[in-house]
Amino acid sequence: MAEDLVLDTAIRDWVLIPLSVVMVLIGILRYFVSKLMLSSQVPDPKIVKEGQVIVRARNLRAAANFIPPKSFRSRRVYFSNEENGLLFVPKGQAQNAQAQMFSDPNMAMDMMKKNLSMIIPQTLTFAWVNFFFSGFVAAKIPFPLTQRFRSMLQNGIDLSSVDVSYVSSRSWYFLNLFGLRGLFSLILGEENATDDTQRMMQMSGFGFGPSKSLGAEKDGLDIVQHEWALPKFEHRAEAVLKKLIR
């Protein structure tokens, strides 16, 4: 199976390069469209406060050994107190936050807009690639692959004797999809709307309401054992000074 297929250079001229160019152009177009459709979202004070509480609680956990034990204990009580501790969320409320997020009209609209702006161009481009650029070998991947990848990478090619390294243009499309992110951050600066992969990761982790992280922080704080690091410092200071004086 190790014969080398010679691919027409016309493929490179008329398939690979135009596909990349088209994807770059579509990305730039989406960026500008997203800028036009940008609605400034007024941040909810409760959410901001919760975010800050989490940061403060995390700091407390991380640097707990640097403050005297009494201060640490009083702060811990302040955070995880049953009645009005900052991190304490009664069971009923925990579910509410998530439902609230979905029913909040502004946020739902925003999410829909962002999702649409990502899904539609992807779908269109994918359909276009399939229609025009299927049925032939487009490129050869430089490293050998197993047979498993055949169905994924060689969709239009119905010959099972062709080496799996020869792929169709669909795989070139996916390669571009994930790879052009770096190019976009060069051209458009950071924080552009074409960051699909980031958005996809955000979507998968979306069930995470703020109250869940509060609960997690509270548990973490309860676990921390306070071991005051300061007495060690006296010894270390001695050592430092001894070295300095020598």
Binding site: Q52, R56, N59, A63, P68, A237, E238, L241, L244
Partner: protein, 300 residues
């Protein structure tokens, strides 16, 4: 906090610009990034760039940021006409902007018309109640008017929402220390240590406050924090060395009757004294006599 490398870079650029070597724009960008307060230089060099139409057009969209920066520097140097001109230009370009509204509020503050400035800020806050900078400007205004209790109240309310803002904690600690409310100041410094445990300044300030509060437990804790400052600064911090000597002698005085010797660091005081003497010998040899007599009186 500005790091050492950034500070040297800033000074180098400053020297370069002062001696006519160009690079004013880089200097201004660095000042803006590090948020240092060099208003006279920013004012002088920024204004020279803005008044030269060729250089101004070379900046492109950054021109407006420069206008804002020069406006604030001009207010700091009390050149209010320049400020008014800059704000006018910005307002023409961005008529409905909140940032320009904030600059207007700051101009009213600089002129001293407190009531109008307060009105301007409240109206801006109505649109966006979570604008951190405007909250801080209100606190600054209260402080400038001398109304420290109001400043404390506003700052506490701000910190209830934005409790991870360590600059605000630092400001609150300063205010408490100026009012001699040391227990509250100690709390603020603890917050600062929690958020940035490796910055020696906070340890030092906390130790100072604890030493001022007095009482055996506080003195012992203060000694530990002076020791941690010494550790974090490699022994170079003179104040911490003095702190150790003073703490040890104060502890000895307070616990004169009870024989509770903390076995941890009997040598620490003598080591600190030796380090101090060495330091003085190197840097201020004429004051060495004063130092030795002071240390001797402490040990008694």
């Amino acid at each position: 906090m500005v790091s050492k490398t950034e500070e040297t870079q800033l000074n180098r650029l400053e020297n370069q610009v002062d001696n006519g070597g160009g690079g004013a724009w880089d200097y201004l960008c660095l000042v803006r990034k590090l948020k240092v307060r060099r208003s006279e230089k920013v004012f002088k060099y920024g204004l020279s760039i803005l008044n030269d139409p060729k250089k101004r057009s070379a900046l492109g969209p950054e021109e407006w940021t420069l206008y804002e920066q020069v406006a604030i520097a001009a207010m700091d140097c009390q050149c209010l006409d320049v400020t008014k001109d800059c704000i006018k230009v910005l307002q023409k370009k961005f008529p409905e902007s909140k940032r320009v509204g904030r600059l207007n509020g700051m101009l009213l503050e600089a002129k001293g018309s407190w009531a109008e400035a307060e009105k301007a800020y409240s109206s801006l806050l109505e649109d966006n109640s979570l604008d951190q900078v405007i909250h801080k400007r209100r606190v600054a205004m209260a402080k400038a008017q001398g109304n420290i209790s109001k400043a404390i109240e506003l700052l506490n309310k701000y910190l209830e929402i934005f409790m991870a803002d360590h600059d605000a904690w630092r400001e609150l600690a300063d205010i408490y220390v100026s009012l001699q409310m040391y227990k509250q100041a100690a709390f603020c410094y603890e917050e600062l240590i929690l958020s940035q445990p490796t910055v020696p300044l906070y340890h030092l300030a906390y130790a100072d406050v604890l030493y001022t509060l007095g009482g055996l437990e506080n003195l012992q804790t203060a000694k530990k924090y002076y020791a941690s400052t010494i550790d974090l600064t490699g022994g170079k911090n003179t104040r911490a060395l003095f702190g150790i000597c003073l703490c040890t002698s104060a502890i000895a005085q307070v616990s004169k009757g009870r024989n509770k010797e903390d076995k941890e660091s009997p040598e620490l005081q003598s080591l600190a004294a030796t380090a101090l003497e060495k330091d003085y010998k190197q840097r201020a040899a004429d004051k060495l006599g004063l130092l030795t007599s002071a240390l001797r009186s402490l040990k008694i």
